[in-house]
Subunit: 147 residues, 2 copies
Amino acid sequence: MKSPAELTETFRANGLKVTPQRQLLFGLMHGNTVHPTAEALFAEASARMPGISLRTVYQTLTDLASMGELRLIDVGTGATRFDPNTDDHHHVVCSSCGEVRDVYVAGSDRLKVDGLDGFRIEEASILFSGTCVTCASDTVSRASARG
Amino acid sequence: MKSPAELTETFRANGLKVTPQRQLLFGLMHGNTVHPTAEALFAEASARMPGISLRTVYQTLTDLASMGELRLIDVGTGATRFDPNTDDHHHVVCSSCGEVRDVYVAGSDRLKVDGLDGFRIEEASILFSGTCVTCASDTVSRASARG
DNA sequence: TGTTAGTTCGCACTCTTTGCAGATTGACAA
DNA sequence: TTGTCAATCTGCAAAGAGTGCGAACTAACA
């Protein structure tokens, strides 16, 4: 995703207005690596700008996504997550706490794939799931406590 | 997924009852390759057993999934889809009509993956998305019709 | 400073799925 | 065949995640 300053340019160039709400969201998303949900972003935004609406958060996020400035990701935890990293990458999700991290995969061009006949493929996404360190150690702690 | 007869055994062995509703759903899912949603299955079931409730469809599907007899898949089209194919496989979804097909991938063990440090990975799923033949030809037809 | 088109916000509403509780009914024993 | 009891079924309410809409507001530019 571009920097807040660049996005300001881009928005104006596209006939879109740059409002305080949008600037706030540009800032909250820029360099954000936690893959927040709209609700999480709304909480952060509300802390800095009381009164901002969840509707506006969804609106702006959708706009950014349709401009290709951020990616919508669905890791199966219910709510869509937003990722300002537009590099070619994939994700890993902790099935316990839902934490999401970026994953880079090389060599996918050498995979032998069977069953795509008839499809014109536009995208391939790989989602790893497992347990993050924090949740793994929590489990160990609880196990020790139990026995 | 096991055959309806085998599932009957398994259910009884696990202290679960085999009701007409469940038998119907066993039959509808066995060998089913369309990856139906609960709603779609409910429609089929209703045609054969008027009065069956959507709640029961969800219940039974969830039971089968927790017994490992079918997989819950989320291709980002809104509703969860159910897959009786429990082989190690992946999926491709048509971004236009939502059709889902099974895909077999070999060589994934040779991928170079960066970013999984700290995670104990339990699963990796690959989701291809693109346009199916039907939708591709529809697009062509419409384009021709337009001129 | 005025005009106007783009925005914001809140509310109602859709969609998918789950929780609950009373009415039913398999499964097994007598 | 009958009885018992836990498992099930069904309908309805409700939760979570988004989206459509319209009135009030405001950024952008003349």
